[in-house]
C-alpha cells in the first residue's frame, strides 16, 4: 500500500522556482497496474521518483508499506530500494558490457543471494520475459524491445513489491510497445506486483487498470477501469 499525501516538490531553475508537484494525494493499493499520465512537464517523472525514493520531498508525505519516506536517511532509502523496488527506464539503462544474464543477475548479487539461487532465478525470469537462449548476448546485439525485456526481468527478478516504470515504451515502436505492456500486465497478474508507470501515450493509457492524469503538478482525474 502506497499513500501519497499532499506531496509538494519544487525545483530551482536558475532564479525561478518551478513547482513540479503542488499537493498531490493518491492511494495505491497492492498489485495495482496504474498509469500516471499527462503532458510533458506535468510532474509524472517527479512523482515516480518520489515514490521510488530517489528524490526528496519538499512537503507532504509518502508512506510505502507503512514506512514514511521522509523519515528515511540516504542509507535507509538505498536499502529500501534494493529490497522493495524495481525500476524500468525509458532508455533501458542496461550495462553495455554485461550480457543479458549479467544485467539481470547483478540485482541479486547486490542482495548477497547465493550464486546458485541467482542463476536459478535469473534463468527463470529471462525465460518468462521471452529471452531464453539470449542470456549471453550483450545489449548491443538485441533489439529495443528485447533490451526493455531485460530491463523488465531486471526489475522483477528480486520479486519487488513495486515496479516503477518511467515511460517504458517511449523508445519503442507501437507494436513492440504493446508487447512490452502485455508482458508487464502479465507479470503484474502473475506476481501481484504493483506496477506504476508514467506515459503520455494514449495506447499505453488504455492498458492501465487505473489512470491518474496529472496536469501542471496536480491530479486532474483518477479513473479506475
Amino acid at each position: 500500500m502506497i499513500q501519497v499525501q499532499n506531496v509538494i516538490r519544487n525545483y530551482k531553475a536558475g532564479e525561478t522556482v518551478v513547482k513540479a508537484l503542488k499537493g498531490v494525494s493518491l492511494d495505491i493499493g497492492d498489485g495495482e497496474f496504474l498509469s500516471i499520465a499527462g503532458p510533458s512537464g506535468s510532474g509524472k517523472t517527479t512523482l515516480l521518483n518520489l515514490i521510488g525514493c530517489i528524490d526528496a520531498l519538499d512537503g507532504g508525505e509518502i508512506t510505502i508499506e507503512g514506512q514514511p519516506v521522509s523519515g528515511m536517511d540516504k542509507k535507509t532509502k538505498t536499502e529500501f530500494r534494493r529490497n522493495n523496488l524495481g525500476f524500468i527506464f525509458q532508455t533501458y539503462n542496461l550495462i553495455p558490457v554485461l550480457s543479458a544474464y549479467e544485467n539481470v543477475s547483478f540485482v541479486l548479487s547486490i542482495l548477497n543471494i547465493p550464486e546458485k539461487e541467482i542463476e536459478e532465478r535469473t534463468m527463470r525470469i529471462l525465460k518468462e520475459v521471452g529471452l531464453e537462449g539470449m542470456e549471453h548476448r550483450r545489449p548491443d546485439r538485441l533489439s529495443g524491445g528485447q533490451q526493455q525485456r531485460i530491463a523488465i526481468a531486471r526489475a522483477l527478478v528480486k520479486n519487488p513489491k513495486i515496479v516503477l516504470a518511467d515511460e517504458p515504451t517511449a523508445n519503442l515502436d507501437s507494436k513492440t510497445g504493446e508487447e512490452i505492456l502485455k508482458l508487464m500486465k502479465e507479470m503484474n497478474r502473475k506476481y501481484h506486483t504493483t506496477f506504476i508507470f508514467s506515459t503520455h501515450d494514449s495506447m499505453v493509457m488504455d492498458y492501465a487498470a487505473r489512470l491518474v492524469l496529472l496536469h501542471d503538478g496536480q491530479i486532474v482525474s483518477d479513473e479506475r477501469r
Binding site: T45, N49, G52, I54, D55, A56, K75, T78, E79, R81, R82, N83, L85, G86, F87, F89, T91, N93, I95, P96, V97, L98, E102, F106, V107, S109, I110, L111, R154
Partner: protein, 417 residues
C-alpha cells in the same frame, strides 16, 4: 565484490583505446621512475664504494683535535707511534695503514712542463706496502709504476696530470713546512699516473712514500691518520666503537670516525640532490596521475546515467566507489605491469653498460664519486614500491571524481546526457 570485479574488468575493455593510452602514460612514468631511481641508487652505491676505496677508507683514526683543524692539514696534531697501533689493529683483524696528509706548493719547471709555475696542493704520504691493503689503487695505474719506499718518487692523478700536462719522468719540487714550522723542499720525480674511478682523487691526488717525507717533515714515527678497511658486510658503526675501545686501551689522544662522518659534506649534498631528484620523480608520477584522473573523469562523466541506474536499483555508495576504484586500479595494474617490465628491460642496459657522463663530470664537480659511467642498480624494493604505487595512485585519483558523481542526486544522474 565478485560482481564488482567482473564489471570493472569488463568496463576496462569497453574503451580499449582509452584504457591503453592511459596505461601507457602510467607505464612511461613508471619506467622513467625505475630508470632514474636505478641510476640514483647505482651512483650512490658506487660513490660510497669509491669514497671508501680511494678517499676516506671505512674508518679513520686521527689525533684528537685534528678533525677540527683538518683544513689546515696540521702536522703537529698527529698520532704517535702509528705502526704499533696499526700492528694492534691488524692483530684484531683490521687492515690498517698510516698516512700523512700535508699541504705544499708544487713547483713546476720549464724544462719539463714548458714553463715555470707553482700551485698549492695537498699531498698524501702513504706506506707503500700497507696502503694497498686498505685502499684500492693497485689496479688504477695508467702509466709508469707506484712510488717505492724511501725514494723521492711521486704518483699523480690522471686528471691532474692532464691539467698540468705532466708525464712520467718529469721532476717537481714540493715546498712545505715541516712539523715545527720549518720550511722544507723535496724534489720528486713523477713515476706513475693513476686513473681511479673517484673523480675527486683523479683531480687532486699526489701520492708519495711515507718514509721519504717523514724524514723531510720531522714526522718519524708519526702519522696524521690511520685508515682502516672493513668488509662490505661489516656494520661500520659497531666496528668503529670496537676500534675506539681498542685505541682507548692502547693510550689516549685519538679520535675514531667512520666514512659517514668524514664524508658528511658528501652525504648532505647527496641528500639535497636526492631531494631534487625526488621532486622530479614526483612530477613524473603527477603526470601519470593527471592522465588517469582525466580518464576517470571522462569515464564517470560518460557513465553518469549508468551510475544513476545502479544507485536507483540499490547499489550503495561504497560499492560504486569500489567499482570505479577497481577500474582505475585495473588501469594502474596494466600500466604498472607494462612500466615495470619496460623499466626492468631498459635497466638491464643501464646496469650493465651505464650512461657515460664523463664529459660532464670532467668539467664540473657534482659531488658524485663516479668518474664517467653512471651505472644503475637493481633494487627489488624500489621496483615493488613503484609497481604498487602505480596501482594505489591510480585508485586514489579515481576517488575524487567518483565522490563528485555520487554526490549528484539520482534523478540528475538519470537525466544526464
Amino acid at each position: 565484490m565478485k560482481f564488482l570485479v567482473v564489471l570493472a574488468c569488463k568496463n576496462l575493455t569497453r574503451y580499449k583505446r582509452r584504457t591503453i593510452i592511459t596505461a601507457v602514460t602510467i607505464a612511461i612514468g613508471l619506467m622513467l621512475f625505475i630508470l632514474i631511481d636505478s641510476i640514483l641508487i647505482g651512483v650512490d652505491r658506487e660513490s660510497v664504494r669509491n669514497l671508501k676505496w680511494y678517499e676516506t677508507s671505512s674508518v679513520r683514526i686521527m689525533a684528537t683535535g685534528y678533525w677540527e683543524d683538518r683544513l689546515m692539514l696540521p702536522l703537529d696534531v698527529s698520532i704517535d707511534d702509528p705502526y704499533t697501533k696499526v700492528q694492534l689493529l691488524r692483530e684484531h683483524g683490521y687492515d690498517a695503514t698510516p698516512r700523512i696528509m700535508f699541504a705544499a706548493d708544487l713547483i713546476l719547471y720549464s724544462e719539463d712542463f714548458g714553463e715555470d709555475g707553482n700551485l698549492p696542493v695537498q699531498v698524501t704520504a702513504v706506506d707503500t706496502t700497507l696502503d694497498n691493503t686498505v685502499f684500492r689503487f693497485e689496479d688504477t695505474l695508467l702509466e709508469g709504476r707506484f712510488a717505492e719506499s724511501g725514494k723521492n718518487e711521486l704518483v699523480i692523478g690522471s686528471w691532474m696530470a692532464e691539467d698540468l700536462q705532466a708525464e712520467v719522468g718529469y721532476w717537481v719540487t714540493l715546498v712545505t713546512r715541516g712539523n715545527g714550522g720549518f720550511f722544507e723542499a723535496m724534489d720528486m720525480q713523477i713515476v706513475g699516473i693513476v686513473n681511479c674511478p673517484n673523480p675527486n682523487v683523479n683531480r687532486s691526488l699526489l701520492m708519495v712514500p711515507i718514509d721519504t717525507v717523514a724524514d723531510y717533515l720531522a714526522m718519524e714515527n708519526l702519522a696524521t691518520e690511520i685508515d682502516i678497511a672493513l668488509p662490505e658486510s661489516a656494520d661500520t658503526d659497531v666496528e668503529a666503537q670496537a676500534i675506539t675501545r681498542l685505541m682507548a686501551e692502547s693510550g689516549k689522544g685519538t679520535t675514531v670516525m667512520t666514512w659517514k662522518d668524514l664524508a658528511g659534506d658528501y652525504l648532505a649534498m647527496m641528500q639535497a640532490e636526492r631531494g631534487g631528484s625526488s621532486t622530479m620523480l614526483f612530477l613524473v608520477f603527477l603526470i601519470a596521475a593527471v592522465g588517469i584522473s582525466n580518464t576517470m573523469l571522462m569515464v564517470i562523466n560518460e557513465r553518469t546515467r549508468e551510475l544513476g541506474m545502479m544507485r536507483a536499483l540499490g547499489m550503495d555508495d561504497r560499492s560504486i566507489h569500489w567499482l570505479f576504484m577497481l577500474e582505475a586500479g585495473g588501469i594502474g595494474l596494466l600500466g604498472s605491469s607494462i612500466g615495470v617490465a619496460l623499466g626492468m628491460l631498459a635497466n638491464i642496459y643501464i646496469v650493465q653498460e651505464g650512461l657515460d657522463f664523463g664529459f660532464f663530470m670532467r668539467e664540473m664537480d657534482m659531488a658524485y664519486r663516479v668518474q664517467s659511467i653512471f651505472r644503475g642498480a637493481w633494487s627489488l624494493r624500489s621496483i615493488l614500491t613503484t609497481f604498487f604505487s602505480g596501482i594505489f595512485l591510480s585508485m586514489l585519483v579515481a576517488w575524487i571524481p567518483t565522490r563528485r558523481a555520487i554526490r549528484m542526486d539520482i534523478p540528475s544522474c538519470l537525466r544526464h546526457q
